[in-house]
């Protein structure tokens, strides 16, 4: 991994704009296309909302630029608060959307409870 940028955010809807703007900046710095950047913003927002709906009250969003292949890898991890909420229909759509837009989507679960979501954009094999 070449470079990192990490944000730690309280999981409140009014923080989403800040995270989206930061995501746009990171994608632009990684020379991603405008559409790629917008898709990445959607995925970061969806990941945060997923964690929020599961009961987390804060999350960290870490962007990294892989040494090879270019693009951006993002890891959104829930912290603080419980993770007791069951998955809803909205979550199902969010997960399908993540899989449709991002590459290499992985879910980190701790005893069945969702803990982190990671995905990549613009990576070349």
């Amino acid at each position: 991994m070449k470079e990192y940028l990490c944000l730690r955010v309280p999981l409140r809807r009014e923080m989403m704009t800040t995270v989206r703007l930061a995501t746009g900046g990171v994608c632009s710095a990684a020379a991603m296309s405008y559409d790629g950047g917008e898709d990445c913003k959607v995925c970061v927002t969806e990941s945060l909302l997923l964690l929020m709906r599961r009961g987390y009250s804060a999350a960290s969003v870490c962007f990294s630029a892989p040494e090879e292949g270019g693009g951006v890898r993002v890891c959104v991890t829930g912290s603080e608060g419980s993770c007791g909420q069951a998955a809803s229909d909205e979550d199902e759509i969010a997960l399908a959307l993540l899989n449709a837009l991002a590459e290499d989507v992985t879910m980190d679960r701790d005893g069945g409870a969702l803990k982190a979501i990671a995905f990549a954009f613009g990576q070349q094999a």
């Binding site: 989206r20 703007l21 746009g24 559409d35 959607v42 069951a86 759509i93 959307l97 449709a100």
Partner: protein, 259 residues
């Protein structure tokens, strides 16, 4: 019975009802049944369309694209494959929306939108200050202009003052200044956009009005010669020309504002 178990049972019940609905539709191809399914899942089209707002295409257009994709998806879905319909339809709708963006990319005028928004921000700020005696926040501006807070912040970022001597890299060549790489006043993209807008505006004219445009501005005939060819008086041509030009100006202005 625990809440988790109750939720699980409810989920299983919903899945069974969904399967049953699609099985009946697959067997009967009953249009009423298809409509029932589409109505039931139309919220997915609405949810997904909202995720793509702010990229230069109106929500209503995105919702329409998403709804059409949903209708097509209902026909293609096979419940026997064991997938939930929402899991199947989300990538289908997303794909259609992205195709729409790709097809429309030539017509989505982002730079122009930003410049229009900047004018709006300036006006709304002044109005807000006059009314409240203080400057507005980004959120207040967003509410006043009916756009997202993000668009306001992104727009103010895009409007930063930059020196024309700022060194930039252009087409792989370093050490050039910004004023050397800035497009000329009549940039080729602007020309393409203007031609598109004009073509759309011309389509709103009647055949007689289009004839007038052809004689006067393509063949460059005089009003008198045009009148002869169209079998009307020169006065009529003069009046019609004024009216047509006004109509074209208004249509073009509207299409540029709406992007």
């Amino acid at each position: 019975m625990s809440a988790e178990l109750r939720n699980q049972q409810a989920d299983e019940g919903a899945e069974e009802r969904e399967e049953e609905l699609f099985r009946r539709y697959r067997e009967t191809h009953d249009v009423a049944l298809r409509n029932e399914i589409v109505e039931k899942y139309l919220y997915i089209a609405a949810v997904l369309a909202k995720k793509f707002v702010g990229r230069g295409v109106d929500y209503d257009d995105l919702y329409q694209v998403a709804s059409l994709a949903l209708i097509k998806g209902v026909d293609r879905f096979d419940e026997r494959k064991g997938l939930r319909f929402s899991t199947f339809i989300t990538p289908t709708i997303t794909g259609e929306i992205k195709n729409y963006f790709r097809d429309r990319s030539r017509l989505v005028h982002l730079p122009r939108k930003v410049s229009e928004l900047r004018v709006g921000i300036k006006r709304a700020s002044e109005e807000f200050f006059a009314k409240n005696g203080r400057k507005p926040t980004a959120k207040e501006l967003a509410q006043a202009l009916g756009v997202s807070e993000e668009e306001i912040l992104r727009c103010s970022d895009a409007g930063g003052v930059v020196s024309l001597d700022t060194p930039v890299e252009h087409e792989g060549e370093e050490g050039m200044s910004l004023h050397e790489v800035l497009p000329a006043e009549n940039d080729i993209f602007e020309k393409v956009e203007d031609r598109d807008a004009l073509e759309s505006a011309l389509r709103t004219l009647t055949p007689q009005e289009r004839d007038l445009i052809r004689y006067r501005f393509v063949r460059e005939l005089s009003q008198m010669e045009t009148a002869k060819r169209m079998g009307v008086s020169q006065m009529n041509v003069s009046r019609m020309e004024r009216r047509v030009l006004q109509k074209l100006r208004e249509t073009m202005k509207r299409s540029m504002v709406e992007g």
